[in-house]
């Protein structure tokens, strides 16, 4: 099970990093989300995998490590805030710069293409 788990974490990391390296902000946000799944799973796994061992007193004989769980719980929420911030920033960048490229340096889309894609001012 551990091997499979590790493989999944690795794959999520790889997918996330590949998308982060793309040029458009939306892909980067999706990549960040994938990467944060990987990171959360990774951190969670540092408490080792246990079946039927919820960290609630009296519910089982042995308990999984509650500390990584507590850390990951807040990480998930903060991760949401970060994703939200990144995506809104991407929208704002598109509004102000006229491009959704992360470098913000590309020429704004031509007038014909603009109405199709929504677009900026």
């Amino acid at each position: 099970m551990e091997g499979m788990y590790a493989f999944c974490v690795g794959l999520l990391t790889a997918c996330g990093i590949f998308l982060i390296l793309r040029g458009r902000s939306f892909s980067v946000v999706v990549g960040l989300t994938l990467l944060s799944y990987a990171v959360n799973l990774f951190l969670f796994a540092s408490g080792r995998l246990k079946l039927n061992a919820a960290a609630v007193l009296g519910e089982s004989e042995q308990y999984s490590d509650p500390l990584p769980q507590a850390l990951v719980l807040t990480a998930i929420v903060i991760g949401f805030a970060m994703t939200a911030f990144a995506v809104i920033l991407a929208m704002r960048a598109r509004a102000d710069l006229g491009s959704d490229h992360v470098d913000g340096a590309l020429a704004p889309p031509s007038r014909d293409a603009a109405p199709k894609n929504g677009g900026s001012r």
């Binding site: 551990e2 499979m4 788990y5 590790a6 493989f7 974490v9 999520l12 990391t13 790889a14 997918c15 990093i17 590949f18 982060i20 390296l21 793309r22 040029g23 892909s27 946000v29 999706v30 799944y37 959360n40 799973l41 969670f44 796994a45 080792r48 246990k50 079946l51 919820a54 960290a55 609630v56 007193l57 490590d65 509650p66 500390l67 769980q69 507590a70 990951v72 719980l73 807040t74 998930i76 929420v77 903060i78 949401f80 805030a81 939200a84 911030f85 995506v87 920033l89 929208m91 704002r92 102000d96 340096a105 603009a114 109405p115 199709k116 894609n117 929504g118 677009g119 900026s120 001012r121």
Partner: protein
């Protein structure tokens, strides 16, 4: 602790005085400025008697003793000599500058810089710690930069100052490196210890490196060949600055450094070779260039270079007598050169020119100044009965005793005599060209004598030239002995300061120098003609060219690596991270550890395959953004299932609700962003990124696997043991969040609130227009919200809120809590937004989400502070059990109030983000078509 500590700091205080005193008259300002340095000088002199008897004063304040860092000062003979020069000549310069500076110059600023420089110099000579010497050393570079660029409106002042700073600053860095290695070799940064570790240092392998680095610092500061070019360009400074920095202080700092480290570093072949040859070259080059200068100060600057070379040469000769001669010449040169600079300043001031081709026959206009300048100049030339003669004779004597160059040793006295000839020649030029030699040509002003008190400093210094020259041992004997004793670690050889040693060889050399110099000056027209054949090269231009080419190269390098592309930066950062983790992972012998693995089951495999497929699909379809979002949500759901599977119900609940919120957010955002990503990446880039991503993924997977298969040594047993008894809850995760690590949680909800407010501000002025059509050009549906959805979600709302309340209340003991309940509530409210639209909600739910965030954080903080009222630490939980009919036994805990704060913040933040983003889609906003 004694008065020694105050010595350098009195001038530091004194550098503030002129800033306040500048509002009074210039005389008052000069007088007030002089007070503190004068007190310092008296303090120094009060120690003189004991130092002459061989005492050494030390004082230190420890700072970081374990690292050898301390504030330590020492006052020995060498430091005494330099302190007297720095403070004494400094006082004369203060007086002189009072008359030199014009009414338009800010005299307060000038004095402040000057005294700051004085402080730095005193720091250098008094320091008893290597690092501290370097610190003050750099301070002299900086304060001299300020002084040289005092007339910042002149280009040459700015360029000269920049050049001086660059050269001496670069040397300072070399010096730092040298001192660090030196301290490391000795094992202490205390100068006292270093001075007595000469043998250890010289036998260590790093000795050559230390010597070269420290000498680089000394040579750049003391304008030794080939770093001499900055000194003439620093002449753009006001003349009082030149008189101070370039006679007695700044340029002498390098000499001081060599003298200071003489016991520790000198007397080896390497030292001899570098120091003496550099000194000799500088001596000759400076003297030769000086002869051809037309600028008065240029002549003096180059003669300074030459004399510094002479002192360096003496320090490099390796005999103790030569070191004594070097110290003696330091004193003499400081005296006559300061007076000459001041005289040159007077001439400039009263005639308006420094060009010797214009200045002629000034004797008639200013005989008094002329006499003073002529005496000082004669001292510079080495005429008997003046102080310059004495040390120059000692110099000649020492050159005769050199055998270090083997059979070529006779070169040294011959070249020394040649240098002497040139010195006489340029000194004669200074006298004859300026004060005689016909009539002035086209001077801007009619020259006249300077104000009475402007002459006083020159008179004092010239008088010293004579007194030292005639009664040497009486006037400076003790000082010289003490300084030489400090330089040689107490082993001062027998020397004689008499004027007349009989008809000796050195006397012959002096005579040759005098006659030869006069002859050279007489035939100068031939020399000038010869010199004019060389193309004139301005070191300023050469230097500027070098600086610019370095800047251009640096710019090219920067534009290569730092081209403004975030995409590239991320790539570089990730590559670095991969390399660094990979290299340390290789040290791990086996991937798998000892811990037994959980056996696989069919359900898990199915989920894992689904997860992998969904993740890959996200990558593959990332250019079709909606598709990528759908597959992304599959990944998120399976992640939450994984949490549930591996005994983390809290995480599963959180992940599930965050997933919903995230996907809704991304869909909303996608509405305003292009629906498709254009194909931009070149195949090469795709392959490159795929490679990097696979590498990184492989590394993370490996670490994860290695981690999971090794036994766990956790600190969580404490939490498990104390969760119920200390925190009053059985859900350990929740108790950690609200109690054990409640402070962390408080920080985290604060971050959440800040992020939400940041997003709110970003949205508030967003100038995005609603797209009217989708990606394929189909207009968006203008249908009302489906009635079925509205009705169902409206009736679901109470149920959802009830669930949320239940999850919240049971959180302390069962999976749940503020975070999860907050997210569930948010999802319930968002559903209403989705089903009814923003306008409908706006009129019904009147919640100010910003206030909600503030309340949440406030409540959490207050609940933490509340425990203070009971004398408990911040965020300490109180809990007890109560009994009510019907409900039965239940628990009340202060942690629940904290959790309520968390709940409110989460709801507020989530809703602030989503509701405001959703609001952008309302009909009140203009669509793009309407805009056009």
């Amino acid at each position: 602790m004694n008065a020694l500590i105050w010595l350098p700091f009195l001038p530091l205080l004194g550098s503030l005085v002129p800033l306040f005193a500048a509002r009074f008259s210039r005389t008052t300002c000069a007088f007030m400025t002089a007070i503190l340095p004068a007190i310092t000088l008296l303090l120094v002199l009060s120690h003189a008697g004991e130092i002459f008897n061989g005492s050494l004063f030390q004082a230190s304040i420890p700072w970081i003793p374990s690292m050898g860092l301390e504030l330590a000062f020492r006052l020995d003979g060498l430091a005494l000599l330099f302190s007297i020069l720095i403070l004494g000549i400094g006082l004369l310069v203060i007086l002189y500058a009072r008359y030199y500076l014009s009414a338009t110059d800010s005299i307060g600023k000038f004095y402040a810089y000057l005294i700051l420089f004085m402080f730095a110099m005193l720091g250098v000579v008094l320091s008893d710690n290597l690092i501290q010497i370097w610190f003050f050393w750099e301070l002299t570079s900086i304060s001299s930069f300020l002084l040289i660029s005092f007339w910042g409106h002149k280009t040459e002042a700015r360029k000269g100052a920049r050049m001086a700073l660059t050269v001496t600053g670069a040397g300072g860095l070399a010096l730092l490196a040298g001192l660090l290695i030196l301290g490391d070799t000795v094992g202490s940064y205390s100068l006292q210890i270093v001075l007595y570790s000469g043998d250890l240092i010289k036998s260590s392998a790093s000795y050559p490196v230390i010597v070269v680095l420290i000498l680089l610092g000394a040579f750049t500061k003391s304008a030794q060949f080939p770093f001499h070019f900055w000194l003439p360009n620093a002449m753009a400074a006001p003349t009082p600055v030149s008189a101070y920095l370039h006679s007695a202080t700044m340029v002498k700092a390098g000499i001081f450094l060599m003298a200071r480290f003489y016991p520790a570093l000198a007397n080896t072949d390497l030292w001899f070779l570098i120091v003496s040859l550099t000194g000799l070259a500088t001596f000759l080059v400076g003297a030769y260039i000086a002869l051809f200068q037309h600028d008065l100060k240029g002549l003096l600057a180059n003669s300074t270079i030459s004399h510094l070379g002479l002192i360096t040469l003496l320090l490099g000769m390796g005999t103790d007598l030569a070191a004594v001669a070097a110290i003696f010449h330091i004193i003499n040169h400081a005296i006559f050169k300061a007076s000459l600079f001041m005289a040159a300043g007077i001439i400039d001031h009263e005639s308006g020119s420094r060009d010797m081709r214009q200045l002629n026959g000034l004797w008639k206009y200013m005989p008094y100044t002329a006499t003073l300048a002529m005496v000082a100049s004669a001292s510079m030339a080495g005429v008997p009965l003046l102080n310059g003669f004495l040390s120059k004779e000692m110099f000649f004597t020492e050159t005769l005793h050199q055998a270090s160059l083997g059979s070529l040793s006779w070169f040294i006295p011959v070249l020394a005599t040649l240098g002497g000839v040139l010195a006489v020649a340029y000194s004669t030029r200074f006298i004859h060209d300026v004060f005689f030699n016909g009539e002035p040509i086209n001077l801007p002003k009619t020259p006249h004598e300077p104000p009475r008190y402007m002459r006083v400093p020159v008179e004092i210094l010239v008088a010293l030239c004579l007194i030292v020259g005639i009664f040497p041992s009486m006037v400076v004997g003790d000082l010289l002995f003490a300084a030489a004793s400090a330089t040689l670690n107490g082993l001062v050889p027998v020397y004689s300061l008499a004027i007349w040693h009989g008809f000796t060889f050195p006397l012959l050399m002096s005579v040759i120098a005098l006659i030869g110099g006069l002859l050279v000056y007489k035939n100068r027209s031939h020399l000038f003609k010869f010199q004019s054949q060389f193309p004139a090269s301005d070191p300023k231009l050469v230097f500027e060219g070098i600086v610019q080419s370095i800047t251009a190269k640096a710019n090219r390098f920067i534009s290569l690596t730092e081209n403004g592309s975030l995409q590239r930066y991320i790539f570089f950062t990730l590559v670095l991270a991969v390399i660094m983790t990979a290299s340390s992972l290789m040290k791990l012998n086996t991937t798998a550890g000892q811990r037994a693995e959980i056996p696989l089951d069919a359900l898990s495999i199915t989920c894992a395959v689904l997860l992998c497929l969904a993740a890959l699909a996200t990558v593959v379809c990332h250019r079709s953004r909606m598709m990528a979002l759908i597959t992304l949500s599959v990944v998120g759901l399976i992640v939450s299932l994984a949490f549930a599977k591996f005994s983390a119900p809290d995480l599963a609940l959180t992940q599930l609700s965050v997933e919903v919120v995230t996907i809704i957010l991304l869909i909303l955002a996608l509405f305003f962003l292009p629906q498709k990503t254009p194909k931009e990446s070149s195949p090469r880039r795709v392959v490159r990124d795929l490679g990097l991503a696979s590498f990184a993924g492989g590394i993370v997977g490996t670490i994860c696997y290695a981690l999971m298969t090794r036994p766990l040594d956790t600190i969580s047993t404490f939490f498990t043991a104390n969760s119920k008894t200390g925190g009053g809850g059985t859900n350990i995760v929740n108790v950690i969040l609200v109690d054990f690590r409640g402070f962390d949680t408080l920080g985290e909800i604060t971050v959440l609130g800040i992020a939400a407010l940041g997003i709110y501000k970003l949205i508030a002025r967003m100038r995005l227009y609603m797209p009217s059509t989708d990606d394929h050009g189909r207009p968006w549906s203008k249908d009302k919200h489906p009635i079925l959805l509205s009705v169902i979600s409206q009736s679901l709302l109470p149920l959802a809120l009830l669930v949320s309340a239940y999850i919240f209340l049971r959180g302390h003991n069962m999976p749940g809590g503020g975070f999860i309940a907050g997210l569930i509530t948010s999802v319930a409210i968002i559903q209403q937004y989705v089903a009814h639209g923003v306008e409908w909600i706006k009129t019904r739910i009147k919640l100010d989400y910003q206030v909600m965030i503030g309340m949440g954080i406030g409540i959490s903080t207050l609940s933490g502070l509340g425990s203070w009222a009971f004398g408990q630490p911040f965020l300490k939980t109180w809990f007890d059990y109560f009994y009510l009919p019907v409900i039965g036994k239940f628990e009340l805990a202060s942690a629940m109030i904290f959790d309520l704060g968390v709940f409110l913040t989460v709801v507020g933040a989530t809703m602030l983000i989503l509701a405001n983003l959703g609001q952008l889609t309302t009909s009140e906003r203009l669509t793009q078509q309407e805009q056009e």
